[in-house]
């Protein structure tokens, strides 16, 4: 295996495939293409500009914004100089940047637009070392005159002269950057405490990106749509590391609102999304089908039944009778094909989901309509790739087999340990945290509890630290895996989020967030009037609907003898959506169980105290930083639980 760096990969593509497209961005209604040679040229000028501005080898530079070609080019430019780009989440509040910026002594930032510039200016007091800020989109910024603030155009302009004067300067810089040099730093969102900077080298990011590309036969012909935050390592691997390794085309959507339209226009061949995106797509399809005419609805349900029966088997290359094959082909012609096209997934060759567990129904829906959806397992610390599902072995409840070069073992406590070329170098300026997760022998503690099943696939249950025990009651000492329970609930389309409590308690209770779209549509069809989210959430009819879901989940849990005690005995439906702006979710949309338990302490007490309703007032933060109050009298409902002995038959 040849070790390389990102800038070297760029120069290779620019030399070998100068006129092939590297990046596309939709602007003014047209897809504008940047070829590899144009990109290399841009990176060269940016690098020269940055060097003149004083960016040194080993220094950090923050990059904030959505996926934009010039921001990707800025990352490459920084790496060419041996500096370290630090992408941060573009939707975070200014205060959330303070820690990473001070931790990494950031003096330079390249940001997308006015919104981000405002945040950077706000940070001047808390981060006095921040000297220079450049912005990509000048809209609304014409009248800003702040010291150190300039447009990316100005930076490129200042680099242009330098590049033409000193031929070979750039190549020299690229040569000096070594595969073992730090390539980028990603801050983990962190469910507790300050975020930690995960340090990756060019080698750790490229090695497994290449292994993954070989695993799925990725070539330079792939099309990818980059629409998730670039600060998330998943998006970074798919639209940066693997982009440079394979040399395929990365497409940037016009705006956040046009992603679905752009997806359809591009028709990506390689697609990656967390389960929530796949779920959102399916929900929108289902809602539209419910509103369709009777004939269309009948056809859809009829053919989807056939698809569910034969689709996944066909995809796995199993044996299917001639009659079923013919029916599936007919369905493909009238339903599955057009549906794939509507979703923008008709050209997808390989699609991955990761980050969270995916519901079995959701997973098999996509495989049934002929989309090769698979799962993979990994984290920021492992540069994503740990386990992947091979083409014919996709299962909803496992995450696949270890990638080439990855070693895996499970400790007696159930924790998964990993040894891999893609492991982080360490946490930035945090030796204590590094030592906690990296053993001297090179094993990384994932913090995930799981086991390897009979077919060699890894199955994840929950975070090790979250796995608790019930105390007292009928199931004293039984294992309680909150996420496992929550996921069972979230797999229902009407439930958006769930938070389960049960550690050191005698039974399990849960908070539930309804899915406003799905439940709202359901209410409309039932002629149930409602005034808004809070009102809808507290309707007795909605409680009955949710109770039905909870009881189904309980029946499912009862069948599992390890987790039978985790059945939900009481629940309530929350009056507001859990939100990252209120600190209830992480930026990657994971529930912060501890924080929620404290914030809504009265509700937890009411659940366990046997009350039938509880009044609560909650402060909510709006997107623009203002706050407001949401108050409601929440109903609390009991749910039926099942005894464990149901394994007859």
């Amino acid at each position: 295996m040849v070790s390389t760096t990102f800038p070297r990969l760029l120069l290779e593509h620019a030399a070998k495939r100068a006129n092939a497209p590297a990046l596309r961005e939709k602007e003014y209604g047209i897809w504008q293409t940047l070829t590899w040679s144009q990109l290399a040229h841009l990176v060269r000028e940016l690098a020269a500009g940055l060097a003149q501005a004083g960016l040194q080898r080993g220094q950090h530079i923050v990059i904030v914004g959505a996926n934009r070609p010039r921001l990707s080019a800025s990352m490459l430019a920084a790496q060419s100089l041996g500096a370290i780009p630090v992408p941060l989440y573009q939707d975070a509040a200014a205060a959330e940047y303070a820690f990473p910026m001070n931790n990494a002594e950031v003096a330079f930032a390249i940001v997308e637009d006015q919104e981000q510039v405002d945040k950077m200016l706000e940070l001047r007091e808390t981060c006095p070392q921040l000297k220079r800020v450049w912005f990509d989109d000048p809209r609304g910024l014409r009248n800003y005159s702040e010291p150190g603030l300039a447009s990316l155009d100005a930076l490129i302009e200042s680099g242009r002269g330098h590049v033409s004067e000193q031929q070979g300067w750039f190549d020299e810089q690229v040569k000096r950057t070594q595969p073992d040099d730090v390539a980028a730093m990603f801050f983990t969102s962190g469910t507790t405490g300050n975020p930690k900077g995960v340090v990756h080298t060019h080698f750790t990011l490229t090695d497994l990106a290449r292994a993954g590309a070989i695993f799925d036969n990725l070539s330079s012909a792939e099309e990818v749509l980059a629409y998730l935050p670039p600060a998330w390592i998943g998006q970074n691997i798919f639209s940066y590391a693997q982009w440079l390794v394979c040399g395929y085309v990365v497409n940037c959507p016009e705006s956040a609102g046009t992603v679905m339209i752009d997806l359809k226009e591009i028709g990506p061949t390689y697609y990656f999304a967390p389960p929530s995106v796949f779920e959102g797509l399916l929900t929108s399809v289902m809602i539209r089908m419910e509103d369709a005419g009777a004939l269309k609805r009948w056809l859809f349900h009829r053919f989807m039944a056939i698809a569910r029966r034969t689709g996944p088997t066909l995809m796995d290359g199993g044996a299917v009778s001639f009659g079923d094959r013919a029916l599936y082909a007919l369905g493909n012609l009238c339903i599955y094909g057009p549906l794939r096209n509507t979703l923008g997934l008709s050209r997808v060759r390989v699609a991955y989901t990761a980050g969270e567990a995916i519901g079995p129904d959701l997973f098999s829906f996509y495989r049934a309509i002929g989309i090769n959806l698979k799962q993979l397992y990994g984290s920021t610390e492992t540069a994503v790739f740990v386990c992947m599902q091979p083409d014919n072995q996709a299962k909803a409840d496992t995450v696949g087999v270890p990638c080439e070069g990855v070693e895996l073992k499970v400790t007696t406590s159930g924790e998964i340990l990993i040894k891999s070329p893609g492991l982080l170098k360490g946490y930035y300026k945090n030796a204590v945290a590094t030592d906690e997760v990296l053993s001297p022998e090179g094993w990384y503690r994932t913090g995930d509890a799981g086991f390897v099943d009979a077919s060699g696939h890894l199955k994840i249950i929950d975070r090790v630290k979250d796995v608790g025990r019930l105390q007292g009651g009928a199931h004293d000492g039984a294992m309680f895996a909150p996420k496992y329970v929550e996921n069972k609930l979230k797999f229902f389309p009407y439930i958006k989020e769930a938070v389960a409590f049960g550690d050191k308690r005698d039974r399990v209770c849960a908070f539930i967030n309804i899915d406003f779209n799905a439940v709202g549509n359901w209410a409309e069809r039932k002629n149930l009037p409602y005034a808004g989210y809070t009102d809808l959430a507290q309707k007795p009819e909605v409680y009955a609907l949710i109770r039905d879901c909870v009881e189904k989940a309980n029946a499912d849990l009862a069948a599992d003898d390890k987790l039978c005690g985790s059945q939900i005995s009481r629940f309530l439906v929350l009056h507001k959506e859990l939100d990252a702006d209120d600190g209830e979710l992480t930026r990657s949309s994971k529930v912060r169980r501890g924080f929620i338990g404290e914030k809504y302490g009265v509700l937890v007490d009411a659940l366990y105290g046997g009350k039938t309703s509880q009044y609560i007032e909650t402060l909510v933060k709006f997107e623009d930083g203002r706050t407001g109050m949401v108050a409601a009298d929440l109903q609390i409902s009991d749910a039926k639980t099942f005894s464990a002995v149901r394994r007859a038959a």
Binding site: E27, Y28, G29, I30, R142, T258
Partner: protein
């Protein structure tokens, strides 16, 4: 905050009177508008604000008075001529083509700039195609400016009201006007939509240097964004000046807070 320069008087309205039979809509109204400024016309319901706007852009012909635009004096304006001179307007109750897409609606604003004949346009040949591409480019810049990319192909009738108002503004902007007449741009909007609209109006004024004459009911908005304000009541001018001056004007306070007749 702004670097724009307010220039000389570009539009002068002198002694305008308009009556519909015995109903006097406007009586002896005079005011002027300077280059690059945001000029508001306010007043209670039925004060004659929309009539005033309609006189400026030639929908109504006033019985008395004259309008001077950049040195040329007119006793009555003709709407096509007004449009060619660089006036564009939006409507209080949205005069959009509901069944047409956002793109097509804004494209109609380019009508005056399309010179090729109907036949060439129908077969999309040569000059007609080039013209279409050039105008589409201008429309795309407006779509980008107003941040309505997700709705490009959406029929306007299916969009929420606040966004329709934005399309209405987009169509007026497509004319690349020197003067933009806005008839209650914020009517019927929620707070967030109003904020967005204010930002767009200020951006238009700032970025393109367009002079803006607007009618508005929301006093907060008017006082925040306009440079000078004219106040009408029962077809008569009762106040004229900066927002601060108007706010302290006795007649204006009386007209808004009510008085016995």
């Amino acid at each position: 905050m702004s670097t724009r320069q307010i220039g000389d008087v570009m539009l002068d309205v002198a002694n305008i009177s308009l009556a519909f039979g015995g109903v006097k809509a406007l009586t002896d109204i005079s005011f002027n508008v300077r280059e690059h400024e945001i000029r508001a016309i306010i007043g209670p319901n039925g004060a004659g604000k929309s009539s005033m706007l309609n006189c400026i852009n030639g929908v109504y012909q006033p019985q008395q008075g004259a309008i001077t635009f950049r040195g040329q004096t007119f006793t009555h304006m003709n709407s096509r001529q007004v449009a060619e001179m660089g006036f564009a307007r939006t409507f209080q109750n949205l005069a959009l083509f509901k069944g047409m897409s956002v793109l097509d609606n804004i494209m109609t604003g380019r009508n005056l700039r399309m010179k090729s004949n109907l036949f060439l346009q129908a077969i999309r040949f040569g000059p007609a195609e080039r013209e279409e591409i050039k105008n589409r480019e201008a429309v795309e810049r407006i779509i980008d400016f107003l941040e309505i990319q997700p709705y490009r192909k959406t029929p306007v009738g299916r969009m929420p009201y606040g966004l329709q108002k934005r399309v209405d503004l987009g169509r007026a902007l497509a004319m690349e006007p020197k003067v933009l007449l806005l008839d209650e741009p914020m009517a019927g909007m929620n707070v967030e939509e109003k904020q967005d609209m204010c930002r767009f109006i200020l951006d238009v004024n700032d970025e393109f240097g367009t002079t803006i004459v607007l009618i508005e009911h929301d006093m907060g908005v008017v006082m925040d964004i306009s440079d000078r304000v004219v106040v009408l009541d029962y077809g008569k001018k009762i106040g004229d000046g900066t927002p601060a001056e108007v706010r302290n004007n006795e007649d204006v306070i009386r007209a808004y807070l009510g008085t016995t007749h």
